[in-house]
Structure formats: C-alpha cells, structure tokens
Symmetry: C2
Subunit: 332 residues, 2 copies
C-alpha cells in the first residue's frame, strides 16, 4: 500500500505528464508536496521500485508506467464535474430536438474529438443483431435504381444498381415478395434465406428472375458490418507520441482494420479503461469505452488516445454523453 504522500506524488506526476507530455522532475512538484526535491526523489525511487513510474533514461524525470496509469485510474482519479465550457458545446447537440440518437452520438463525438484531439469510435449494434425492417426500390432513370435497406435498429444502407431491360412491374413484385417473406430476419441470415426460400418463389412468379435475384443477393451480401463510425482519426497527427509518419501509418492501419469491431468488445456495463497492452488495438494507446443502450439502439462508444490521455476529462465527457443519450428516450 502506498503512503498518502506517495499517492499524492504519483497523482501529480500523472497529471503533469498528461499536461506537458514531458518527463516530470522532482523539482517541478516539490513545492506542491511541501517538501524538498530530495525527498520527492527518494519517494520517486520507491514508486519506480513498485513499477508505478518509469524513467526514459538514467537521469530523466519520471513518467507513469502502464501500471502507474492503472493505479491512478483505479485509486486516485475521482469523478469530476464536467466543465462549463465542455458542457456548453455538447448541450447544443443534445438540445436539438430533431436529432435522432445516432445523429446526436456522431455529432457529440465529433465535438469530443475536436475538443480533445483524440479519435472517437461509435460502434452501432452489430449487423447480426440487426433485423431487416424494410427494403424499397426507387427508380431513378431508365434502368438505374436505388435499393434502400432499413433495419429495425434504424440502420439504413442504400446501393445503386442497374437492372437493364426489366420491367418495373417485375421488380415491384420481387420487392414485395421480399418484404412479405423475410422482413424480421437478422441481416446476416438474409442472404441464405434469400437463396433457399425466396429464390424458388421468385423464379415461379417473376420473369427474368435470374438477374433480379442476383441483384438483390449482391445488395445484401455487401450489407456488412458497416455500422462503425470513426471520427477524428486525423487528430492523431496532433499527439506528440505519434510524431513520426511511420507511427501514424501504423496506428491508422490499425484503426481502419476490418476487424476493429471485434477489438472493441466490453464485458462491462459501464465505462471501462484499457491502458496500453490492456487493449487490443495498439500497445501505445488507451481506449476508454462504454456501452450504451436506448430503446431503439445499442452499441459502444470508444475514445482512442495516447496512454498519456486526459483520463478525467474523457471519462467525464463519456459519462455525460452516455447519460444524455440514454435519457433522451424518456425525455422527449
């Protein structure tokens, strides 16, 4: 167990390092601790012994280790009030009556990304939990038309298709067959249901069924887990820990990874913090995330930033967003 003073010192070092991105020297904090730098130094040495602090080289100041951040997060950080400034910005989003939840989410996370220079990720419900709600086809010109697919979670996707030399009549027939027969099917089962249940029926009632069937089949096949939204990726460029092109390239590719979805899974019902090696995205970042759940939608919000992240602020902001999102269902 740490002494009161050690707690204090660790906390100061974490906060200073978050602020300045520079190893923290004993001199910088000895005033606040009300003792000499020598005393602070010997405490620092103990904290390093315990694995809570690190040096970048023999005679540098200290920076928090991953374990140090973890300790800070678990024991030293306390819930802060959201600052007036932050709140003000977010409120303009939440107070817009006409914005639906998903819009609110995206917009508020855009704000957070801009405010903090971290990257935000919104992860909607995964598509295998989405059920087909309705499809519709809007003819644009000649054989060019748009297929719109809507799920019960409010996820919309549209796709342009060409269906040359096919009468509108036949297409309408197919659409209403699909709407009658497979609405309510989980999205990723639609393809197979289409094949085994709809194809035989279409081929009986619809001319040119081959072409039409293929078209719809492709539409659904491409309706993948696109329900992931990455906001503010470019802010990574502003973080001093990603000051080389190679590091940026590396992290970009990890964020654009097709399997990112699987890397942001949480067992926790509340805000959880994954520092460095604790997260599956990258050893040099921290991910702070929370699931959210409303009447119409559920998913996860995650903020990705350097380990030297403003934990207090991000947690407070995420809490605020989560609350407001989940409240919105009752309110209006």
């Amino acid at each position: 167990m740490l002494t009161e003073r050690q707690n204090e010192i660790l906390k100061l070092i974490v906060l200073e390092y978050i602020k300045l991105a520079h190893p923290v020297s004993s001199n910088l904090i000895c005033d606040t601790i009300h003792c000499s730098s020598a005393t602070v130094r010997s405490e620092m040495a103990s904290l390093e012994e315990m694995g809570l602090l690190e040096k970048t080289h023999t005679s540098s100041g200290r920076i928090p280790s991953e374990k140090g951040y973890r300790y800070y997060v678990d024991h030293l950080m306390k819930a802060k009030e959201i600052t007036g400034e932050d709140m003000l910005k977010l409120q303009t989003v939440f107070q817009n009556q006409n914005l639906a939840l998903s819009e609110c989410l995206t917009q508020s996370l855009e704000l957070i990304s801009d405010m903090t220079s971290y990257t935000s990720i919104v992860l909607g419900k995964k598509s295998h939990e989405n059920k087909l709600k309705e499809i519709s086809v809007v003819p644009i010109k000649d054989s060019h038309m748009i297929v719109i697919v809507i799920t019960d979670q409010g996820h919309v996707e549209h796709k342009d298709v060409e269906l040359p030399n096919i009468s509108q009549e036949e297409i309408k027939k197919t659409v209403s067959l699909i709407n009658d027969l497979i609405v309510g099917t989980p999205i990723d089962e639609v393809s197979s249901k289409l094949e085994f249940e709809i194809k035989p029926i279409i081929s009986r009632y619809v001319k040119e069924h081959e072409l039409i069937y293929n078209t719809f089949y492709n539409v659904f096949r491409d309706f993948t887990n696109k329900n992931i939204n990455i906001v503010g990726k470019d802010h990574i460029l502003e973080q001093p820990e990603f000051n080389s092109i190679d590091k940026v390239k590396d992290l970009f590719s990890k964020i654009d990874d097709k399997h990112l979805v699987d890397k942001i899974e949480s067992d926790n019902q509340n805000i959880s913090i994954y520092i460095g090696k604790e997260n599956k995205i990258d050893n040099d970042v921290t991910v702070i995330q929370t699931p959210y759940k409303t009447e119409s939608e559920e998913g996860t919000i995650a903020i990705v930033g350097p380990k030297r992240m403003d934990y207090d602020r991000v947690v407070t902001l995420l809490e605020y967003i989560k609350e407001n999102i989940e409240e919105k269902k009752e309110g209006e």
Copy 2:
C-alpha cells in the same frame, strides 16, 4: 525551341525523378543519351537556364521545375496503353453488371488510389443541380424514424429524426404534401420553397405543424453538398514529399476543406492537369482531373498526388475509367 537531345534529356530526368524521387545526375542518364556526362551537364545547364530544371543545391543533380513538368506534359508525354495488370484490376469492377455507375466510380478510384498511392476525389454533380425526386419516412420505433431523401441524380441521403407524440397520420400527410408539391425542385431551393409554399399549407392541414415542419426543414438544410467522395487520403503518408507530420496535417486540412468542391472546377471537357501553383488545392501537389458525363449522372474525377506524379499512368488510368463509365450507359 529545344533540340531533340534536350527533349530527350528532359524527358529522362522527369521519368527518373518520378521513379526514384531523387535528384537526377548527369551520370545516371549519359549512357542512355549516348554521350558523356560532361555533355549532359552542359545541356542540363541550358535547360536550367530556360527554367525547365532546378537544383536542390549548388552541386546536386537536377529535378524538374513546375515549368519542366508542364513542358513534359505538353510536349513529351505520349498516350500510353494501359498496362495489362492495371487493366485487369479495373475490369473486375466494370464487368460487375450489377454495380451502378456511382458504385463503379468509387470502387475503381479506390483501386487507383491503392495502386498509385495518390488520393482520389469523386465529385458528383453539385447539389444545386440535383432536383428532389422523392422523400419517404420510415418509422422505426415509437417516435424514432428515418427520413430518406432521393434526388433525380440518384443521390440518397437519410437522416434519423425523433418526432415525439406525433401521429403517423400527420406525418404521412406532410410527406405526401411535400412529395406532391416540391418534387422536381433543385435541392438548394427546397428550403425556401418549404418555408414559403409548404409551411402555410401544412399549418392549415396538419396538427403539430410547427414541430413537423421544423424537422423537415432541418433535414433539407443539412442536405448540403455532401456529394463529394475522397478516397485514399491516407496514401499521402506514403509519399516521400510528405514526410513530415506538419506537411501531412497541412495537406489533410486542405483536402478536408469545406470549399474543396470549388477548387476542383474545370473548364475543360477532357483530362486536365494542374501542376503545383496551377491548382487551387496546394502548391506542392498536382491534380489530374476529368469531367465525366453519363445519362444519369455527371461530375468530376480528380487524382491528387505529388508534383512528382506518374503522369502517364494516371492519365491513362483516368482515360480508361472515363471511357468505361461513359460507355456503360449504352452497353448495359
């Protein structure tokens, strides 16, 4: 006027520099020219005098100046056949019968970005040339619904809205009023038409008209010139001329600029090339762009890369895409 040999030398320097991103020395090309390096050097000096070449420092090899690239593009570059490899990749996109034009475009430009490591931009018809084709509202759950707006150019946009405590009946009425009265209106006139023509009518027939009206008003207000599609922005990180975080940040912000649309305007009906200061985006890049026009759609495709861009290849690729896109209307 340049001599035959000077043309040859300039061409070689441009090509070598494009390939190696390194100042080109007299030694490197004297074999190909069949004369001594000294001769090449004196020719280089003349070419520099004419402003076609530059040195990075007193005793470096030469690199092409903007004027040099311009001369190359105007006089020395000749149309090349697309390589088998490039063609093969693109064909898989164009031969997909079910892909509509806009899909084809995006996918083929994604390919080009990956192949060349340049950034591609697709600019669809600007929204003031888009006319409203249809709107529809799909209720998802309780007061949560999705408004889908479709233009006659096939541009689709959807927006989630909350309309609490409003009966479906009233909403349907409003939608059909809008569809009856302002379909065919250019998108950017919709807002005002909504205000002056629809609002009075809604307020007569529809209860809660205030809230409903505001919702739709917002939907259209947000339907801005989003018809721009930037592909492969991150490839900039691979270009040696953008090897510092600051340069990347700068170019990123220029590409994400709200006014990018206006900076990619072309008077030319064919492929045009804007080198360095000739383009409005950034002095350090070249933009190669072409308008395209099909029965259902028109717009511009642009490729953005360093001035040291593989002009031949990009022009060939763009031509190939333009042709295939424009052909598609007749074919199937």
